[in-house]
């Protein structure tokens, strides 16, 4: 079953960790945000023990794609400096739209501006779905907003909802306009009542409102791909080949890895 990795590596030179994760988990498509690695060097590192990975370049320099598939199967369709949308066209499988995004941080954008970033992302996705003639779409992103924030949940935003059952309704009409749903499986990962971390990004600030753990890194799925998605199909990774990605206090190990935790998606299509 194809496996996708998304990781905001915070500009860190952690190529060996990524390689280890890619090889142990048999990752087919790697998407890295805030990636300062040289793509050529990284491809060499990926192929050191097992050949097969290629760089799939685009004009969006904030997001780097690497794949075990022939990179011509990952055709570019639309980009901005924060979004890269590709058509994954594998022989014998349904075509997928693969959307990667790294939206602006709360440090630089107001809440309202972050909502508009989500609206713009939604518009880009829907345009490409219309062009492709299907809605078999997955989003791998550091949205820099939590799953419960307006830009992610609102109909005019990404319209990503908490349960597979609601998303499977397909779409919702609001004020005469139809808005398709995404399913957002990331809601499952809040809090500490599961084996994974309580989020993907930890941020403590001297304000009254403080979530501490956030899930800025998200995987969203259209209902049209949910038949190939198992409930354990998304994983927040907290260790790679024995190396913990969390420090002694249980927060992302900023020194040894990244301030964000990686996500793995396994999907049959």
């Amino acid at each position: 079953m194809p496996t996708f990795l998304f990781w905001n590596i915070n500009g860190k030179q952690i190529d060996e960790l990524i390689v280890s994760l890619a090889l142990t988990e048999n990752v087919d498509v790697i998407v890295l945000a805030e990636c300062g690695l040289d793509p050529n060097d990284f491809v060499i590192a990926l192929n050191r023990t097992r050949l097969g990975y290629e760089y799939a370049p685009g004009l969006c320099e904030r997001l780097r794609f690497f794949t075990r598939f022939d990179n011509t199967y990952l055709g570019l369709t639309a980009e901005s400096d924060r979004v890269s949308i590709r058509r994954l066209m594998l022989p014998g499988r349904d075509e997928l739209l693969l959307v990667a995004a790294h939206l602006p941080s709360k440090m630089h954008f107001s809440g309202a501006s972050q909502i508009f970033q989500c609206v713009e992302l939604r518009t880009m996705i829907e345009e490409q779905e219309t062009k492709a003639g299907h809605r078999r779409t997955i989003v791998l992103a550091d949205l820099n907003v939590n799953p419960f924030e307006e830009g992610v949940v609102a109909a005019g935003g990404l319209h990503a909802v908490t349960t597979r059952a609601v998303a499977s309704r397909g779409q919702r009409v609001v004020q005469g306009t139809s808005y398709p749903f995404f399913y957002n499986p990331m809601w499952h990962y809040f809090g500490d009542r599961h084996e994974s971390a309580p989020g993907t990004y930890y941020y403590e600030k001297a304000e009254s409102l403080n979530y501490y753990w956030n899930i800025f890194d998200q995987i969203l799925l259209r209902p049209d791909v949910l038949h190939g998605f198992r409930n354990d199909g998304v994983r927040v990774i907290t260790q790679i080949d024995g190396q913990p990605l969390l420090d002694n206090s249980g927060k992302p190990d900023v020194e040894g890895a990244s301030d964000h935790l990686p996500l793995l998606l396994t999907l049959h299509f």
């Binding site: 570019l76 980009e79 501006s113 970033q117």
Partner: protein, 130 residues
Amino acid sequence: MAENIPDFWPEDIGATTVVTPLSLMKEAASYLGPKTKQLVKAEVRTNATGDSFQQSFLLVAPGLNNYQYLLFYLQHPITLYPATLVWQSGPALIMSQEQLVEKLKEIIGSEQTKKIVQALLAQVSGPAET
């Protein structure tokens, strides 16, 4: 018509020199195609959300299956200004038509935009013949 009240409307109410952001952006977009032999064109897409309008400025490569690159977008209310323009460096407040023209000049003339257009042209044109 009985003249119960005088005509309060100013004589010059019908004469406006205001050009909408959409018109300005469309005009700016129209100059790219002829300079690239239509290999890379620019388009403006409009979205309305409630009382807010979003104008997105796209580079399009017809020869690359209509690949699109979103260069920047502008959000504005029905009164046009103040508007917010979101480009790579972040959001900028635009208070007037003059400021928008200046910002368009900055973005379109930037090295980053040139690099993107030239990359698209290289993709469409393929390797240079020797």
